[in-house]
Structures are given as structure tokens and as C-alpha cells.
């Protein structure tokens, strides 16, 4: 089994890699590999990140890790996927879009946008046993963020394992440029309004993200401990959506406002 397991991990990683860089969505791994489990899914994710860091024949500079994203942080999405915990993915520097600038749609297959709180750490955080108080002390500042999620899997028909393998359906992300101090903002009650082409398309509040965005970061760091990993000073954590996602198309522009944190925006190149 173990040898076959490693083969499966590479096969699934190849499938997702090909989808990402050919621009053609693929069939969900869970459809072809019924025994594909959560551990294997995180192994695929790890393989894909390694390949991106070494470029594997692609042009351009090597990608560098800049942080993590936490996904599936709402009760609604967890119950839809039949799970009771979030998942995480890795953020790379080549996923960054600057605030107010354009995202290149050629790199995206089925993009959707959600507004989130980004944590930027001032010191390392290592689980297990990390509490909300540790997260507060380790956080240097918070920023409003837009996450452009994407799926390499056809029609977003994903299972929990599929999305984990696909780097938690990450695509690109945009950070606002005005830092705030965590203790100055009541994130639980912070309102969120997402506008597409000027119209409000999604609204929510901090409590939508695991009850409080800090809870999501606590989950992440304790989860990473199981992989012998920690969060490093300077890393960025996208903590999870504060309301429903919205679909986007080339030509759209999106702005997220989070009360107390300000706004962040992106255009999708037509």
C-alpha cells in the first residue's frame, strides 16, 4: 500500500500541476482515487508547493513561501463538505497582487473572491497548545485582505480531500496597505462588505470565521504542529472568509471593506 500511496500522491500532484499550468481544469482526485485521504491530500499539497519553489521547468523566478491561508472556516461550508474543521494552504510570493492593482486572469481558472482579515506575525508561533492569547502576542499587525480563491478541479466539485490537495483552493491574494493593531479592533463584530463593480454582493462579520478570526489562527498553528511546522515571524495568515464568496470574471473590480480595518481592492484584467 505504502508504495502505491506515494505513487498516488505524485499522480494527483501531477494532475493538479497540469491543470494549473495548462489552464484546463481536471477531474476531482477523489473521483479516481477513492481511498485518497486527508494525510495523502496534505502530502499532495506539499509536493505541489515544493515543485513551485523549484519551478520544475517553468519560466520565471522561484516561488517563496510567505505564509498560510485557512479555508473552510464557516459552519455552512464545513457542514456542506461534511467536516468539522477547516483546512490550510500555503501562500507563495507569486500569488501576491498589490492593493488596487490588477490580477492576471490567465493564471486563474475559476476565480472567486472573499474578504478576510490577514494577520502578520511579529514573532514565531509554534504549537501545540497555542492559545488565543499567544496569537495576540505574536501578531504584529492585521490588514484587510481579499483572497482570490480558485479551483483546478472542474466546476468546483470538490471534497475536503480534493481542496486540501489543491492547496486549499488558493489562487492569489491582495493585502491592504494600512496596518492596524489587533487589540484596537473588535474583529468578532467587524462588519464586512464586498462590492463587485460597485454593488454590494456579500456581507458578513468577523464572527463568520470560526466565531472569531483569532480562532482560525489558533487552529492553524496547532494543526501545523502535527506536521512539525511552525508559523514564522513575518509570515502572513489569511484567516478565512467573513461572508459568502463572489464569482468574478475578467473586467470585474472588487473592493472589500472591513470595519475598523479599511478597504482593499483588485481588478481582474479583461
Amino acid at each position: 500500500m505504502d508504495e502505491r500511496r506515494n505513487e498516488v500522491i505524485v499522480e494527483v500532484a501531477e494532475r493538479l500541476w497540469k491543470a494549473q499550468f495548462s489552464g484546463q481544469v481536471c477531474v476531482a482526485p477523489s473521483e479516481d482515487y477513492p481511498k485518497f485521504d486527508v494525510a495523502a491530500a496534505y502530502a499532495v499539497q506539499n509536493q505541489l508547493i515544493q515543485w513551485r519553489q523549484t519551478k520544475r521547468g517553468l519560466a520565471g523566478p522561484r516561488a517563496t513561501r510567505v505564509g498560510h491561508k485557512i479555508g473552510l472556516t464557516s459552519d455552512a461550508i464545513q457542514s456542506w463538505l461534511g467536516v468539522s474543521e477547516p483546512d490550510f494552504g500555503v501562500l507563495l510570493d507569486d500569488m501576491v497582487v498589490l492593493d488596487g492593482r490588477s490580477a492576471c486572469c490567465e493564471r486563474l481558472l475559476q476565480p472567486r473572491v472573499e474578504a478576510e482579515v490577514a494577520f502578520v506575525l511579529g514573532s514565531d508561533l509554534a504549537g501545540p497548545g497555542v492559545t488565543a492569547a499567544d496569537v495576540v502576542s505574536a501578531t504584529d499587525h492585521i490588514l484587510p485582505a481579499l483572497e482570490i480563491i480558485d479551483s483546478r478541479i472542474a466546476d468546483w466539485k470538490i471534497t475536503y480531500e480534493d481542496t486540501i490537495a489543491d492547496n486549499a483552493s488558493s489562487g492569489m491574494f491582495v493585502l491592504g496597505n494600512r496596518p492596524r493593531i489587533l487589540k484596537d479592533v473588535d474583529l468578532r463584530l467587524a462588519g464586512m462588505a464586498l462590492r463587485k463593480n460597485g454593488d454590494v454582493v456579500s456581507t458578513g462579520a468577523g464572527a463568520a470565521c470560526l466565531g472569531h478570526p483569532i480562532n482560525a489562527v489558533v487552529w492553524l498553528v496547532n494543526k501545523l504542529a502535527g506536521f512539525d511546522q511552525k508559523l514564522e515571524a513575518g509570515s502572513v495568515i489569511l484567516s478565512g472568509a467573513l461572508g459568502p464568496v463572489c464569482d468574478v470574471e475578467p473586467g470585474d473590480w472588487v473592493r472589500g471593506d472591513i470595519a475598523g480595518l479599511g478597504s482593499v481592492s483588485v481588478r481582474f484584467q479583461g
Binding site: D75, D186, R188, L189, A190, G191, M192, A193, D199, V200, V201, T203, G204, A205, G206, A207, A208, G211, L242, G243, D257, I258, A259, G260
Partner: protein
């Protein structure tokens, strides 16, 4: 074609009795498919006249269908309004009885208390300048139609499902808050059931107030100083049942609670 005056009177009696006795009735448009929105607002006013005759008094207005999702769901482009009376007012922490309602649901809202009269076609800024204070509110809505079947016109005739409301005791002046994006978290029995933002209310609650002023103006009416305006729900309405403790928290506006008894 508008309904005859006599029929409007009859239908006002039907919806008023249904609300008064919590006894659901067949939707009005089933028998009167030609009923117009104008007719529905006339029925609403005549049903209110019956309430005033029983001693209730008008304390304000409520807006409904203020979210894009709800308007799309009902296939309309404008919100609707209803009238609020003193008999519908509940205090923060009030207890209500499930048996007094047909299909009770609760919505998290932003409420305005008017400091000045407001009428006519006004913009959101002008509308807001007539507001004395803002607070959070829980609105209980209840449809008096059987099987929860109705059209938009039926809802308007049924006073936009108005039933009860509780205002928060924490208040603020409109300019003391980021009124266009207040986080709102509604819990039932300690579990968060809905999260939202005041941005869902026509993108800004002040727009809802301005829209109300414009709609009342069509009938030569306006808002009076001291009246309450429920600007609209920030999330889906939540079904409640006996035993539920409902709590709304609004950023900067504290919390409001209701308990549902048998």
C-alpha cells in the same frame, strides 16, 4: 385595474383579524389576482385604521425587502414598508409567547429614531440629518398566510409581516458609527446562527430611510419626529420556537435579547 372600495375594506378586515387572532388566512391574491400594489398599501392603511380604532397608536415604520438577495427572490426592484404600533413594541430582554404567532421569524435590524420630521424625495445624507439616534433592533416578522404562501402584494397588504420589535438600549448618533458597515451577529441559545453587516440594508441603512421617505411621499405622507424606523434586515430571517433565547450583537450598539416562551 384597482379593486373596488368595498372589497378593499373587506380585505383590510381579513388581514387585521388574521393578525389579531394569529389565524392564518388564504393569500388575498388567490381570490383577487388583479390586486395592485397600490391596492395592497390601501388595504394596509385600512387595516391599521382598525388597529387605531382599538386604541393602538402609530409609533413608526418598517422597511422590508431591503437586500438585493430578497428583491431578486421576490422579483422586485424596490423595498416595501409597513406600519409599527405601540402594541408591537417589546423591550430589550422581553419574553414573547410562540403561541401568539403563526410562523414567527426574527431578523437583525438597524433602527432609527427620528429627531425631526422627514418627507419628500431626499438623499441618504439629508435623511440621516433628520435622525436623532441609531440603535440595533430585533424584529419579529410573522406571515398571516396559510402554508407560508404569498406574493409580494399579499405581504404588503399584511403590513409587511410586521408583528413585533425590540430596540436596543445602547444608542449612538449616526455620525458616531461606521453606519454603512456595522457587523451584526445573531445567536440562538448561544450559537451563532447569522452574521452580517448593515451594508446588506440597501448598501447603507440611510438609503433605506431615504427610500421610505420617497415612498411615503407618493401618498402625501412623511415621517414625524420621535418615530422609529426599522431600516431592514441585515441577514436572513431566522425561525424561532418556544424555548429559544435570541440575541443580537451590533458593533458599537450593544446587544438585544428576546426569549421565546411556550
Amino acid at each position: 385595474m384597482a379593486l373596488e372600495d368595498k372589497i378593499l375594506d373587506e380585505l383590510a378586515t381579513v388581514v387585521d383579524e388574521a393578525a389579531r387572532n394569529s389565524e392564518p388566512v388564504k393569500m388575498l391574491t388567490a381570490d383577487y389576482p388583479e390586486m395592485t400594489l397600490e391596492d395592497a398599501y390601501t388595504i394596509q392603511r385600512r387595516s391599521m385604521a382598525r388597529r387605531y380604532a382599538r386604541g393602538e397608536s402609530l409609533v413608526g415604520m418598517k422597511m422590508g425587502l431591503t437586500s438585493k438577495a430578497k428583491m431578486e427572490q421576490m422579483g422586485v426592484h424596490n423595498p416595501i414598508y409597513g406600519h409599527l404600533t405601540d402594541a408591537m413594541m417589546l423591550g430589550d430582554g422581553a419574553e414573547i409567547s410562540a403561541g401568539d404567532y403563526c410562523h414567527p421569524r426574527v431578523e437583525p435590524e438597524i433602527a432609527f429614531v427620528m429627531g425631526e420630521d422627514l418627507s419628500g424625495e431626499v438623499g441618504p445624507r439629508e435623511a440621516l440629518s433628520a435622525v436623532e439616534k441609531v440603535c440595533g433592533a430585533l424584529e419579529i416578522i410573522d406571515s398571516r398566510y396559510q402554508n407560508f404562501e404569498f406574493t409580494l402584494i399579499d405581504v404588503v397588504a399584511d403590513n409587511a409581516s410586521s408583528t413585533g420589535f425590540a430596540l436596543g438600549t445602547t444608542t449612538a448618533k449616526p455620525d458616531e458609527l461606521e453606519l454603512g458597515n456595522l457587523g451584526m451577529v445573531m445567536s440562538v441559545n448561544g450559537e451563532v446562527v447569522e452574521t452580517g453587516s448593515s451594508a446588506a440594508i440597501l448598501e447603507h441603512p440611510a438609503r433605506s430611510l431615504a427610500a421610505l421617505s420617497a415612498m411615503l411621499h407618493e401618498r402625501g405622507e412623511g415621517l414625524k419626529a420621535g418615530q422609529v424606523v426599522l431600516a431592514g434586515g441585515a441577514t436572513k430571517a431566522v425561525h424561532v420556537e418556544a424555548g429559544d433565547q435570541v440575541e443580537l450583537e451590533v458593533d458599537g450598539l450593544g446587544r438585544i435579547q428576546l426569549r421565546v416562551l411556550q
